[in-house]
C-alpha cells in the first residue's frame, strides 16, 4: 500500500470538483483574519494565489527574488492561454480540453486534476477580462483565438506574443489592490533558503534579504511554493537567469516528495545556440507554427552548401525542400505536440540536414503564410488582381500584426530579417512537467506545504501542450488552491500566531548560515558558472532529448563527482552581508547539482518512452515513443534519503476511467 494519498474525490469526473468544494472544510471570514499564509514566488500561480487568499481575508506574505513581483518569469510566456470557451464553435468542450491535455501528456497525468483544470479554464478568461487584461480582439469587438500544437480546435486566447506579460500584470494588479488594502506584505529581493517545520507541519521559511544579506525568519500557518520549474539545471534554457529549484528542493529535503523529475519539455522553436559564452536561449512562440512551415533541404549536398555559406535557403526550390513534419504527421503537420516536433528536428539534424554552421538548426518559413494572407487582404480591400509585390507587402503587414514583436526579437538577436529569409530554430529546454508531488488539494507530502503552477507535477504528464502553462498557473492560483487550503487551515483557527522564537526556527536559521559560510570557505578555484556550465553539458548530452541507460548511469556518477568538486573548490567572491550575485548563484547551483542526479536516476528507472522522456531502448520501428502502460503507468514520487542516488521511489498508480489509453498518434 502506497503512502501517497492523492485524495481524489469519489464520483463521476465532471462532478468531482463541485462535490469536493461542497464538502471540504471552510474557514469563516472572521477566523481568516487570524491566519497567515506565506506565498513564495509571484508568477502567475503565486501572484494569483496571493491576491485571492488576501481577498478571502487571510494575511499574506509574498516573497520573490526579483525587485518586483511583476518580473517573475511567467512574464516571458508568449503564445497564449487555453480555455474551453468554444467561442469559435469548432466543437470544443471541457471534455475535449481534458482529453487533449491527457493525451498530449502521453497518459502520465492525473485525470481528476486535469478535468478540474479544463473545468475552470473558461472562468480564467472571464476573470482576466474583468481585470482589464487586453486580449486580442476581432473587429466585431469579441475575443480572438488561435490554434496551438497537439489539438484540432482553436481555443487559445492571446495578447500578441506577450500573453504571459499581460496575464501576470493582471495578477500583479490584483496583488496591488490587496497590498494597498494592507492584506499582502510583499517581500521583494528576498530568496527562500529553507522551509521550517514545526511538529511536522510547514510553519514558515528562512529567507535571505538579497540587498542586506540578512537571514530572516518568517512564520505562517501554511506555506505555498509557487516557485516555477527547474529547467536551468541544463544551464542553457529559456528560463530566466534567476529561475531556480531552491525552494522546491529545500522542501524536498524536508520531506516533500519530488515527482517525475525527468519529465522535461524541450521546446522545438527556439533560436539556436550561437556561441560558447551564450547565457540563455530565447523561445520563438509555438504560435508561429500556426503559420510557419518547418523544413530542411531534401538533399544533403544542399544542407552542406548552406552550412558553408554557399547557398541561401531562399534559393532552394520548393521540390528540394523536406517539410518533414507535414511528411511524417499529415494529420497535425506543423502543429504536432512539442516533444514530437523537437525529436523530429533532432532526427533531421543528426542525419546531417541541419542548416546553421553547427548543423543544429532547421528552418521555420513564413513565405507561404505571407502570400496567403497578402492575397486575402488584397481581396478584402477590393484588389482582385494584386501584383506579387502588393501581395507580399500586404502579407507582411498581416504577419506583423500577428507576430510583430517576435519577429523583431528574432531580428535583434540574429541580425536576420525573418520576413525575407526563413527563421532558424532548434529545440531548447523550456518547461519542467515534473515537480513537487501534490494531492488533489495541491498539498505536498508535508502537511501545510502547498505547491502550485510549474512547481508541482500534476497536470501535464510527460509533455505539456502549448498555452497550458498559463492556464494551469492561474487555475491553481485563482480557483483551486485558495479553496482547498481552507480544508487544512480550518484546523488552525485557534492556533494563534506562529512564533519564530522557537528551536525549529533557530536550527533552520543556523543551518542556512552554515551553508552560506561553507560556500565561502571552499578552496576558491573555479567560479560558480564553471560548475553550472559543466552540469548543463552533462544534462544536455546525457539527459536531453533522447536518453539511454548507459549514459544516464554515467550522468549520475559525473554529477556526483561534480558536486563534490563544487563544494571543495567553488569560488565565491565578496561578502555575505551585502548584495552578492555570485553567492546567490552558488546556492542555486548547489541545489541543481543534487536535483540533476535525481533527474538522471528517475530517467534511468523509467524503462519506457513517454512524452518528453525518450529512451532510445524503447521506440517503435519508425522511431516513435514506445510507452509501457503495464509497468509504468504511475507517477514516480521520490523521497529524500540523503544522497540523491539513495532516494526512495513511491508510486502513485494512475487510473484512467474516462479516457482509453492509446498509442499517441498525430499521423
Amino acid at each position: 500500500m502506497s503512502i501517497l494519498e492523492s485524495k481524489i474525490p469519489e464520483g463521476p469526473i465532471e462532478k468531482k470538483w463541485t462535490k469536493h468544494k461542497n464538502t471540504i472544510n471552510l474557514v469563516n471570514p472572521a477566523n481568516k483574519r487570524n491566519i497567515d499564509v506565506i506565498v513564495v514566488g509571484t508568477g502567475l500561480a503565486g501572484g494569483s494565489a496571493a491576491a485571492t487568499l488576501a481577498e478571502l481575508g487571510y494575511n499574506v506574505k509574498t516573497f520573490c527574488f526579483q525587485d518586483s513581483p511583476r518580473r517573475a518569469h511567467s512574464i516571458a510566456a508568449q503564445g497564449g492561454i487555453n480555455a474551453s470557451k468554444n467561442y469559435q464553435g469548432d466543437g470544443d468542450s471541457d471534455y475535449r480540453l481534458f482529453y487533449d491535455t491527457v493525451k498530449g501528456g502521453d497518459y502520465r497525468s492525473r485525470e481528476a486534476n486535469v478535468y478540474r483544470l479544463a473545468e475552470v479554464s473558461s472562468n480564467i478568461i472571464d476573470q482576466c477580462v474583468a481585470q482589464g487584461v487586453p486580449f486580442a480582439r476581432e473587429y466585431g469587438g469579441l475575443l480572438d483565438n488561435r490554434s496551438f500544437g497537439g489539438v484540432l480546435v482553436s481555443r487559445t486566447f492571446y495578447a500578441k506574443g506577450q500573453t504571459g506579460q499581460q496575464l501576470l500584470l493582471g495578477a500583479y494588479s490584483a496583488m496591488n489592490r490587496q497590498i494597498n488594502r494592507g492584506k499582502i506584505q510583499s517581500y521583494n529581493r528576498h530568496e527562500m533558503m529553507d522551509l521550517v517545520l514545526v511538529d511536522g507541519k510547514a510553519r514558515g521559511i528562512i529567507a535571505r534579504n538579497l540587498i542586506t544579506g540578512e537571514i530572516e525568519r518568517h512564520s505562517a500557518h501554511a506555506v505555498v511554493l509557487a516557485t516555477g520549474g527547474y529547467g536551468n539545471v541544463f544551464y542553457l534554457s529559456t528560463n530566466a537567469m534567476g529561475s531556480n529549484v531552491m525552494a522546491a528542493w529545500r522542501a524536498h529535503k524536508k520531506g516533500a516528495f519530488f515527482a517525475n523529475p525527468c519529465f522535461t519539455q524541450i521546446h522545438p522553436t527556439c533560436i539556436p545556440v550561437s556561441g560558447d559564452l551564450q547565457s540563455k536561449l530565447t523561445l520563438m512562440s509555438e504560435s508561429l507554427r500556426n503559420d510557419g512551415r518547418i523544413w530542411v533541404p531534401k538533399h544533403k549536398k544542399d544542407a552542406e552548401a548552406i552550412r558553408e555559406g554557399n547557398l541561401k535557403p531562399t534559393e532552394i526550390a520548393e521540390e528540394d525542400r523536406d517539410y518533414y513534419l507535414e511528411r511524417r504527421y499529415p494529420a497535425f503537420g506543423n502543429l504536432v505536440p512539442r516533444d514530437v516536433a523537437s525529436r523530429a528536428a533532432k532526427e533531421r539534424c543528426d542525419e546531417g540536414y541541419g542548416v546553421n554552421k553547427a548543423g543544429q538548426a532547421v528552418y521555420l518559413d513564413f513565405k507561404a503564410a505571407i502570400e496567403r494572407y497578402g492575397k486575402e487582404k488584397a481581396f478584402t480591400s477590393g484588389h482582385k488582381n494584386p501584383s506579387q509585390e502588393e501581395i507580399i507587402r500586404l502579407g507582411e503587414e498581416v504577419v506583423e500584426t500577428k507576430y510583430g514583436n517576435l519577429f523583431q526579437m528574432y531580428e535583434k538577436i540574429t541580425d536576420q530579417n525573418p520576413y525575407k529569409t526563413p527563421m532558424m530554430i532548434f529545440p531548447a529546454v523550456h518547461y519542467t512537467m515534473g515537480g513537487l508531488w501534490v494531492d488533489y488539494n495541491l498539498m505536498t507530502t508535508i502537511p501545510g506545504c502547498y505547491a502550485a503552477g510549474e512547481a508541482n507535477f500534476s497536470d501535464h504528464g510527460a509533455n505539456r501542450l502549448g498555452a497550458s502553462a498559463l492556464m494551469q498557473g492561474l487555475a491553481d492560483g485563482y480557483f483551486v488552491l485558495p479553496y482547498t487550503i481552507g480544508d487544512y487551515l480550518a484546523n488552525d483557527i485557534s492556533t494563534g500566531a506562529i512564533s519564530t522564537e522557537t528551536e525549529e526556527f533557530e536550527i533552520a536559521e543556523q543551518q542556512v548560515k552554515e551553508r552560506v559560510e561553507k560556500l565561502f570557505k571552499a578552496n576558491g578555484k573555479n567560479p560558480v558558472d564553471y560548475y553550472h556550465k559543466k552540469l548543463g553539458k552533462i544534462m544536455w548530452d546525457k539527459c536531453g532529448m533522447s536518453r539511454n541507460a548507459k549514459e544516464l548511469k554515467e550522468a549520475m556518477e559525473e554529477i556526483k563527482a561534480l558536486r563534490e568538486d563544487f563544494w571543495a573548490n567553488v569560488k565565491v567572491t565578496g561578502k555575505a552581508e551585502t548584495k552578492n550575485t555570485e553567492l546567490e548563484k552558488a546556492g542555486r547551483v548547489a541545489d541543481f547539482l543534487e536535483l540533476g542526479e535525481l533527474f538522471a536516476k528517475d530517467a534511468l528507472e523509467r524503462n519506457e518512452s513517454c512524452g518528453g522522456h525518450f529512451r532510445e531502448e524503447y521506440q517503435t520501428e519508425d522511431g516513435e515513443a514506445l510507452r509501457d502502460d503495464e509497468n509504468f503507468k504511475f507517477v514516480s514520487a521520490w523521497e529524500y534519503k540523503g544522497e540523491p542516488s539513495e532516494a526512495q521511489l513511491h508510486k502513485e498508480e494512475l487510473v484512467f476511467e474516462n479516457i482509453e489509453l492509446k498509442t499517441r498518434s498525430y499521423k
Binding site: E138, Q165, S173, I413, T573, T578
Partner: protein
C-alpha cells in the same frame, strides 16, 4: 573585439561611488551587452575581485529587470531594445563604453549598477488595478464587446515593462510615461471606467510623492522607451487628470 569600459562602482546606497576602468577582450558581435558584462565578471572573479552587480533576469527583453545608462543613453544606442537585447555588433573594436546606473532621485542606487525602482510599485499600489474580486464570478468574457482599436491601444499601453528608461532619459526624471501607460490601459477599457477618476488622481499623487519630476514635453522618454510607449498616453493622462479634478 577589445573594449575599454568605464563602469560606475558603488558599494551601497551610502557610498559616494565613482567610475573604474576595465578592459575586456574576445567579445563577439552576436553576444548581448549583458553577456559582455558576464565575460568581464568572469575575469574579475578569476582575479578575486568582486564582480559588477547589475540587474537582469529574463534576458529576452520582457521582464524589465535590466537597465543601465550606456554612453549616456538608457539601454544604449540601439532603439526599441532593452540592454539584454542590445547586441555587441552595435559596437566597434576599441570602443570606449561608459556604463552607469539609471540616474534619478526616486531610483536610489543599491550597489554598482543596481537601483531601487520600488517607487514604480508604489505608484501601481495606489491605483493600478480594477477593483474586481478574483472569485471568477464575473460576467462572460464576451458579454461586453470592445472596439478593436481601443483594445489594441490598451494593449500597446500595457506593454510597458516598468524598466524606468523613461525616467532615466528625462532631464526632469519624470515618471509620466510610465504612469500614463497604466492609466491609459484602464481608461481605454470599459472595465476601467468606473474607477477612472479616483485612479488617475491617486496614481498621479503617488508619483509626485515619490519625487519624480514633471513633464516638459521633450519626448526623450518615448524615444528611449524599449517598448515604444507613445507620448499620447501622457496627453491622455493629462486629460483624465483634468476631468477628474474638475469632477472633484
Amino acid at each position: 573585439m577589445k573594449l575599454k569600459l568605464k563602469i560606475w562602482r558603488q558599494e551601497d546606497a551610502k557610498d559616494k561611488g565613482g567610475f573604474q576602468d576595465f578592459n575586456v577582450d574576445g567579445i563577439d558581435g552576436d553576444m548581448s551587452f549583458l553577456e559582455m558584462l558576464d565575460v568581464l565578471n568572469n575575469d574579475l572573479v578569476n582575479e578575486g575581485i568582486d564582480p559588477i552587480e547589475f540587474d537582469h533576469d529574463c534576458r529576452e527583453g520582457i521582464c524589465g529587470s535590466c537597465s543601465l545608462q550606456i554612453n549616456g543613453e538608457p539601454h544604449g544606442p540601439d532603439r526599441r531594445v532593452t540592454t539584454c537585447q542590445l547586441h555587441m555588433r552595435k559596437f566597434k573594436d576599441g570602443d570606449e563604453i561608459v556604463i552607469e546606473p539609471f540616474r534619478a532621485t526616486a531610483f536610489p542606487v543599491i550597489k554598482d549598477l543596481v537601483i531601487d525602482r520600488s517607487a514604480f510599485d508604489r505608484i501601481q499600489h495606489a491605483g493600478g488595478y480594477i477593483s474586481v474580486n478574483t472569485s471568477g464570478n464575473t460576467q462572460d468574457a464576451n458579454a461586453t464587446p470592445i472596439e478593436k482599436d481601443h483594445a489594441d491601444d490598451a494593449f500597446y499601453a500595457a506593454t510597458c515593462i516598468g524598466c524606468g528608461a523613461c525616467v532615466a532619459a528625462c532631464k526632469n526624471a519624470s515618471a509620466m510615461l510610465f504612469t500614463s501607460a497604466k492609466v491609459s490601459q484602464f481608461a481605454l477599457l470599459p472595465q476601467g471606467e468606473v474607477e477612472a477618476h479616483e485612479r488617475v488622481l491617486n496614481m498621479v499623487h503617488q508619483m509626485d510623492k515619490e519625487g519624480f519630476g514633471n513633464c516638459t514635453n521633450t519626448g526623450a522618454c518615448e524615444i528611449e522607451c524599449p517598448k515604444g510607449i507613445s507620448l499620447e498616453n501622457i496627453a491622455r493622462m493629462n486629460r483624465e487628470y483634468l476631468s477628474a479634478s474638475v469632477a472633484g
